[in-house]
């Protein structure tokens, strides 16, 4: 079983490092902040997030599941990773 809190922290940290320059903005980021619809991650740069998740959690997220909606918040990403990791 994946520890959900750990997973959430790992994704949150990655998103902060990878996409946010401004420290204040990084502090404001929560697991529910809209990333793609909020303009923080553009849908094209989302690729690096997908690659990171696949490597780190040894999963394969098919392109049809890697939608901007499925990646829109840290919590949604956590759900997606759990689904592929645990085959739920």
């Amino acid at each position: 079983m994946l520890d959900e809190k750990q997973l959430q922290d790992a994704v949150l940290t990655y998103v902060k490092n990878e996409y946010i320059d401004d420290e204040e903005e990084a502090d404001e980021l929560t697991p529910e902040t809209p990333l793609i619809s909020g303009g923080i991650v553009d849908s094209f740069s989302m690729v690096s997030l997908k690659v990171f998740l696949e490597k780190k959690y040894a999963i394969k997220i098919p392109d049809e599941d890697a939608t901007p909606t499925a990646f829109d918040t840290v919590n949604k990403i956590v759900k997606l990773v759990k689904r592929f990791k645990e085959g739920k």
């Binding site: 990878e18 996409y19 320059d21 909020g38 303009g39 553009d42 094209f44 740069s45 690729v47 690096s48 690659v51």
Partner: protein, 415 residues
């Protein structure tokens, strides 16, 4: 009827959404050649307004230069109007070769191939030279045409935070297992007017065995001591593997683009780049005129020097006047307003004062970073700039933003 009511309604609904989102683009009809002073019909059907143009990419003021126009006439007379062929069948004249050679010399590269536009150069180059074993690492804010080209290519894609060299280094390290690495950047970024730190980027690329591609569309002809571009400014002429640039801005502003760089890369474009293979050649008139432009800017730096002085003057005076100007050295001068509505209102008021500028807001620029982008030109005389600055002061005072910093503007107008 194939264009059914359902289909029509679908598009009508989409267009309505674009309007409601404030993203509807409208053409403004210009009844004069491109210049510092233009006559504009807007909205459609209204009387012509005489305006000072501060939003063209006519950086060197060559778009309507008499010598360029004459060269176009001569080209038309001596080489005809159209070629009715792609380059490699029967669409390459001696003047195409000559222009390519002049570009190679000017940019300080090994070879050059012309494309119908820089959009086409960017659309074609990646697929022509990279495969799925390779990786492209691009600045997050590169131009849309580069993104399109990257999408058309099978190479893996990654990106780094805008101009963040530490982040780029991490990415280069991470991708050491790929066959070929290609770092991609604009030279001057068109929305902020900031310059990619090419000296540092070249050093990183050398250290991590990566090629580098530079789109210098907003720099060729005027950035650097002799106007070669951003690579000249940073002292890395000869070290950029691939330069793409346009003839549609500073270099006469008609149309056309190129890929210039390592000889093999240029050859690969000729063999494989789809816009080169499947789209018509650049017309002789434009080739002849562009060739003249290269003569002019190779002979003297007068025009880029004047542009530099105009840039300094305008940036200084606007900052003195109390505007929040993105600092920089390029003729792209963003007047930061943050609030989208404010950017639209001010642009409108400036138009009424005879100054033609455009307000940009999300999604063209990031959310909460609305601005008016001014673009300077060597065609501007001091009087043009003084009029523009006076109008900006008047309109800025009307909206009560003079002397306000980012925080204060946001407090006053919201985001």
């Amino acid at each position: 009827m194939a264009y059914s009511d359902k289909v029509r309604e679908h598009y009508q609904k989409t267009i309505k959404e674009i309007r409601e989102g404030g993203l509807f683009k409208e053409e403004r009809f210009i009844h004069s050649p491109q210049a510092a002073d233009i006559k504009v019909e807007y909205p459609e059907g209204s009387e012509l307004a005489s305006l000072i143009n501060m939003c063209a990419n006519n950086y060197l003021g060559l778009s309507s230069h008499p010598e360029v126009i004459k060269a176009a006439h001569d080209g038309l007379d001596s080489r005809g109007y159209g070629m009715s062929s792609v380059r490699f069948i029967c669409g390459t004249q001696d003047i195409h070769r000559e222009l390519q050679n002049k570009l190679t010399k000017f940019l300080g590269t090994e070879d050059t191939v012309l494309f119908p536009s820089c959009m086409d150069a960017n659309a074609g180059v990646f697929e022509a030279i990279l495969g799925e074993e390779d990786v492209i690492i691009a600045d997050r804010l590169v131009h849309a045409s580069l993104i399109d080209g990257i999408r058309l290519c099978k190479a893996q894609y990654d990106s780094f935070k805008h101009m963040n060299m530490d982040h780029l280094e991490q990415k280069l390290e991470m991708h050491q297992d790929k066959r070929i690495r290609l770092v991609v950047t604009d030279g001057v970024f068109s929305m902020d007017g900031d310059m990619a730190p090419l000296d540092k980027m070249v050093e990183l690329c050398e250290r991590y065995d990566s090629m580098i591609l530079l789109d210098d569309s907003h720099a060729t002809g005027f950035i650097g001591k002799t106007g070669k571009g951003t690579h000249e400014h940073f002292g890395v002429v000869g070290k950029i593997d691939i330069i793409t640039t346009t003839l549609g801005k500073a270099l006469g502003g008609a149309s056309g683009g190129c890929v210039s760089g390592r000889a093999e890369i240029v050859e690969m474009c000729k063999q494989r780049a789809r816009p080169y293979l499947f789209s018509n050649t650049m017309p002789p008139v434009i080739v002849a005129a562009a060739s003249k432009v290269l003569d002019i800017i190779s002979e003297t730096t007068e025009r880029r020097d004047k542009l530099e002085q105009n840039t300094k003057y305008f940036r200084e005076k606007m900052t003195e006047a109390g505007f929040d100007i993105r600092p920089g050295q390029t003729p792209i001068v963003p007047v930061m307003l943050y609030n989208a509505q404010l950017s639209q209102d001010m642009a409108k008021d400036l138009y009424a004062e005879g100054i033609y500028v455009i307000g940009f807001f999300y999604p063209v620029v990031p959310q909460g970073q609305a601005r008016i982008r001014c673009q300077l030109s060597a065609a501007h005389e001091r009087e043009h700039l003084d009029k523009a600055i006076a109008a900006f002061k008047k309109v800025g005072a009307k909206h009560g933003i003079l002397g306000l910093k980012k925080k204060e503007i946001i407090e006053k107008f919201g985001l």
